[in-house]
Symmetry: C2
Subunit: 209 residues, 2 copies
DNA sequence: ATAAAATTGTTGCATTTGCAACAGATTTCA
DNA sequence: TGAAATCTGTTGCAAATGCAACAATTTTAT
């Protein structure tokens, strides 16, 4: 992960009334934004968690993105020609920073530090986002649930430098992240357990190889 | 697509000996770069086409990325902890621009225009990359090959504003892009044809609904 | 504290997909 | 231009996955 900008220090310094950037608070369940118009809006999660949700033509709901602290999201990142209704909902109390990409580089009349720092750090936020998307693609392109799980466990194990680690999702959410049926995911985890590859206590996994 | 920087004009102006950025040429089959060390390297395809290839522990080769003119790629976009051997091969004569993210923002001693313009346009290149990745994820997360195909066709149709369009890949590559078996893809296309949803002549598709 | 909601765990069965294998068509390259 | 390589099209069969359904457990909200 490329260094994240120091959010807390930023907010502390974000005193001037910067018209280019807004910070809003949301309670659980509130709609943060919709991806309907082409405003080139970009958002950053300062705290809390939000889901990007798609309702397809049948009315089926799919969570297609999940964003936590320091994640960046927004309609500017989505291809224009998909006919989906996308919207973002806070799944807990959240603080979200909004700006319009097109006007971000215009000078803020108060020359606010927050605004300047944001521009300086934007590339790193983009890079982090790209890394996250590439990781997910890496997993999505594995041909079987077993391969997805083993690759994912490998990554969690390496980044914690430990054979023991905790999956940062519920199994329901993990199935969504992998885009597979939840019961099939549970079945495969059971098989990995029965075959002695892993030990499982809740979402705490131990690699046995 | 966010506006791409005017590459041709750039190269014309790229006269000064900018040490921060390099342009190299590759013939078909040549290795462009490997993702082994952590140099924070970023590359842009000025012309030609390259593939990002993974060899897994069994020696199986998978094309995990395909980049064409104006696409951006590089080790900086890949999570550090995946134990893959990744490398990039030119699949035709290609001209590639290289730079190191960490040193990009340092001033070039010759203040070359190319260097400056690159910095100015970097955000837009990142955004284009994110859009492309989100599009692929959108398709990869569809649960069946049929859904993948119909969504993809929808997008191609909308962006060409026509019921008739040409798939910009071979079917072999499209199967890779969807991460599905090629013969299964062909079978599904045949079924869509037989059921009267589409008409197919080579990679030229007509939507019949 | 308790009711409601969400998550986990499991199974049988239907469906989809992958795999292997091959022939024919098309493209590439020497 | 002719040989080699790649791509297309197809099929039978095995394996993996999705779907549906339900009970048990855990978490959340009032």
């Amino acid at each position: 992960m490329v260094t994240n900008f120091d959010k807390k220090n930023f907010i502390k310094n974000f005193k001037a009334n910067c018209k280019k950037i807004q910070v809003k608070n949301f309670i659980k369940g509130e709609t943060v934004t919709t991806y309907i118009e082409k405003r080139n809006q970009i958002c950053i999660v300062l705290s809390g968690e939000v889901d990007l949700i798609r309702y397809d033509f049948n009315g089926n709901k799919t969570i297609i993105g999940h964003f936590v602290e320091n994640d960046i999201f927004g309609e500017v990142f989505y291809p224009a020609n998909t006919n989906n209704e996308l919207f973002v909902t806070a799944i807990k109390k959240s603080e979200i920073l909004f700006f319009t990409y097109d006007t971000l580089f215009e000078k803020c009349e108060y020359e606010c530090a927050f605004h300047k720092e944001l521009i300086n750090n934007l590339s790193e936020l983009f890079i982090d986002e790209i890394i996250g998307l590439n990781l997910r693609i890496e997993l999505l392109t594995k041909r079987s649930i077993r391969e997805k799980l083993l690759s994912y466990f490998e990554i969690l194990s390496k980044s914690s430098m430990n054979k023991v680690f905790t999956i940062p999702y519920t199994y329901t959410d993990l199935a969504d992240y992998f885009s597979v049926d939840r019961s099939s995911l549970m079945r495969e985890i059971k098989m990995l357990t029965d075959e002695g590859f892993i030990k499982k206590e809740g979402t705490k996994i131990t690699l046995l190889y």
